[in-house]
């Protein structure tokens, strides 16, 4: 069978196709069809010839096979130092082999490549920091995922994710109406307790345009309410766009570069339409990576920068704590030992480590660093889409062991994780390994600790006073 009904080389562009794929429970038919999917070897080789340029070519060629990348990889460590988990081996035996064979690879080989690209690498980019030649295998796996996607060898959930972005401009089926309704609902819900609280939609020339992760309107609407409370407390002039509010990119995890461009353009359009001074993105790692770090390149912005200055949520929090726009009640600081998860996507890959430390200095009395930390921290274990792919659940759970041990070594029972993916992974590791920890985003903790100015006090409290 050249191409299947569900598993094929065409990206999902319509609701009908998306629903057909969603209705195929756990991708049963999808993966069955994948076993028969032909490799379009000519197209594969043509794509490689066009896109494999000197950086990647050189990386593939000059690798000295020294093995210094091995201990950099958390999956290598989590799998008892299995040599097949050495980053260089993983990329040489997949992308390296495709290039050596000039694209002449078969179905079975491509399925092995898919398994390697999504279950043996989270594109955390740590190996690149440990290679003497600066060979970044995370970057190469990103490229390889693109090749897999173009050939239809992509995990079911990733194909759905890419389709979601193409159809809804969001990683989940949240329409503009759903989004606006959720914002209004949250403004009403929290407005009762916080007089004057608003979630302004499509306000032009605001100081801040706030953008989120679709999981928030879909599953955690209180997160939007909490963001609103904190903007309200800090006295910010802010808004959310009705369209172009989604920062994440499962298309990036899927290797769907066209989908990535479509998604990020919707956010840039919102910036250009509403002309805010700055943008703030919620506590999500890959959202920031996609829209702020990589997005400008997907859309061909020569400056490598989005249309307006962009801040990750941790940069904004550090700023309002530094300037005193948001004050922490010293009596309410976190007293117990607390540790912090550094998200690869905005720490290693965007350099924001100092901002999170600044925040910790304001809110925690006994902050304990994981080892290693900052740019050298290990992936949570669920990055790059790993959390979301059902057929690699066992591999993902093994991968969580490194983070589990890092957390245990700190002695902290509370883990602050300003990243959706890390937050999920840490929640899952507690569920599986039961080490007795709690985990949290910054927002709920900050609301607990903030000093509320008199005029903004919740009504009941004000009346009591």
């Amino acid at each position: 069978m050249p191409e299947g009904i569900l598993c094929n080389r065409k990206p999902i562009n319509t609701k009908e196709d998306l629903h057909a794929l969603l209705n195929d429970k756990s991708g049963k038919q999808y993966y069955q069809e994948m076993k028969e999917l032909n490799v379009d070897q000519e197209a594969l080789w043509a794509t490689i010839q066009k896109s494999l340029k000197s950086r990647l070519k050189t990386w593939l060629e000059i690798c000295a096979h020294c093995g210094l990348c091995s201990d950099a990889c958390f999956l290598y460590l989590a799998n008892n130092k299995d040599p097949k988990q050495v980053p260089s081996y993983k990329i040489q035996s997949t992308l390296g082999e495709i290039v050596r064979r000039k694209g002449r690879v078969d179905n079975e080989f491509m399925r092995m490549v898919m398994d390697t690209a999504w279950s043996k690498c989270t594109c955390c980019n740590r190996c690149g920091q440990y290679c003497p030649f600066g060979i970044d295998m995370g970057v190469m796996f990103g490229y390889l995922r693109g090749l897999c996607f173009s050939q239809g060898f992509v995990p079911w959930e990733m194909k759905i994710g890419s389709g979601m972005h193409r159809v809804y401009r969001a990683q989940m089926d949240v329409t503009t109406e759903d989004w606006v309704d959720t914002c209004q609902w949250m403004a009403e819900e929290y407005g009762e307790d916080w007089p004057g609280l608003e979630i302004p939609i499509d306000k032009e020339n605001a100081d801040i345009i706030y953008t989120v992760n679709a999981r928030e309107p879909k599953h955690y609407p209180e997160d939007i309410g909490e963001a609103a409370i904190l903007f309200h407390l800090a006295g910010e002039d802010w808004t959310v766009p009705s369209v172009g509010w989604e920062e994440t990119s499962l298309a990036m995890f899927a290797g769907d570069w066209e989908g990535c461009k479509m998604q990020v353009e919707s956010v840039y359009d919102a910036m250009e339409r509403l002309k805010p001074r700055r943008m703030v993105v919620t506590e999500c790692g890959h959202a920031y990576r996609a829209t702020v770090v990589e997005g400008p390149y997907w859309t061909g912005r020569k400056s490598g920068q989005p249309p307006v200055e962009t801040l990750h949520y941790v940069e904004w929090v550090a700023e309002v704590l530094r300037t005193g726009k948001l004050k922490i009640d010293p009596a309410k600081k976190i007293k117990e030992p607390v540790t912090l998860q550094d998200s690869c996507n905005y720490i290693r890959n965007a350099g924001l480590a100092n901002f999170t430390r600044e925040i910790m200095s304001h809110i925690a009395e006994d902050f304990r660093e994981m080892k290693p930390n900052r740019e050298h921290n290990f992936c949570c274990g669920g990055g790059g889409g790993f959390n979301g792919i059902g057929c690699y659940r066992t591999e993902r759970n093994i991968g969580l062991k490194v983070k589990r041990d890092q957390i245990l070594a700190t002695g902290a029972k509370l883990v602050i994780s300003p990243c959706h993916n890390c937050w999920d992974a840490i929640r899952d590791l507690e569920e599986i390994y039961k080490i007795g920890i709690r985990w949290s985003f910054l927002k709920p903790l900050l609301i607990e600790m903030a000093i509320v100015p008199e005029h903004l006090k919740p009504q009941e409290e004000a009346e009591e006073a």
């Binding site: 000197s54 950086r55 050189t58 050495v86 030649f133 600066g134 770090v293 965007a350 350099g351 480590a353």
Partner: protein, 225 residues
């Protein structure tokens, strides 16, 4: 024979070595693509250069990077091997005598004993590199015959030079073999992964620019190494 290998063949070998490396550098730089690599090389050239410089510096200094510090044994082995490899042939007394004869100038020369010592150290380091490839599973899985071939090409001039200098067996035979193996190495550099002699710097500079421009350098964090 001697006249031929130290004459036209030497010219050819050095020519291929230098021109080959220049061509590789030009290819590499021309093949960089700001959009495909997702690094705004020219727009933020200053930040990029700063990142490139740091990236090379941290790795060219022993124990200068996290990775070097993580693997102290390999680091010592690596630096000893490369130091002997580059230093010995350039400052060897016999080579500088030749340079004086042919070109009328020479570099400061090391004593013959030092030359001998450095050669032996290099050979010992090479043996350890081989043992490491065999002993460590994470290195064994990556190793191919090609890796051993390149190591052989690299140490051959040292072995033959040592034998010639100490007149072990037929001096003339070892001398010619020494020169030929040196020329083989020169020719191999641009065509094999020995090209890392140059591409190490370019590749490090590239990732340094990536970190310097995109991954934190412009946010004030340049400490990725």
């Amino acid at each position: 024979m001697y006249a031929f290998v130290t004459g036209p063949l030497a010219w050819l070998a050095f020519g291929i070595f230098f021109i080959g490396l220049i061509v590789r550098a030009v290819w590499y730089i021309r093949g960089l693509d700001w959009r495909a690599d997702r690094v705004a090389y020219t727009e933020h050239f200053g930040a990029g250069m700063k990142g490139a410089f740091r990236s090379i510096l941290h790795w060219i200094v022993p124990f200068g990077s996290h990775s070097w510090r993580f693997y102290p044994g390999m680091t010592i082995l690596f630096f000893v091997f490369h130091f002997c490899l580059l230093f010995t042939p350039i400052f060897l007394g016999a080579h500088n005598m030749l340079l004086m004869e042919r070109w009328g100038f020479s570099l400061p020369a090391i004593s013959d004993t030092t030359g001998d010592l450095l050669t032996v150290i290099l050979l010992v380091a090479a043996v350890f590199l081989i043992l490491r490839r065999i002993a460590l599973p994470e290195v064994r899985i990556l190793t191919t015959a090609y890796d051993y071939l390149l190591l052989a090409i690299t140490v051959a001039p040292f072995v033959t030079g040592f034998l010639a200098f100490h007149h072990v067996g037929d001096y003339h035979f070892w001398l010619i073999t020494h020169i030929l193996s040196g020329e083989l190495w020169l020719i191999a550099v641009p065509f094999t992964k020995l090209s890392h002699a140059l591409l190490f710097f370019l590749s490090r500079a590239q990732l340094g620019m990536d970190y310097g421009i995109k991954r934190g350098g412009m946010k004030g964090r340049g400490l990725a190494w």
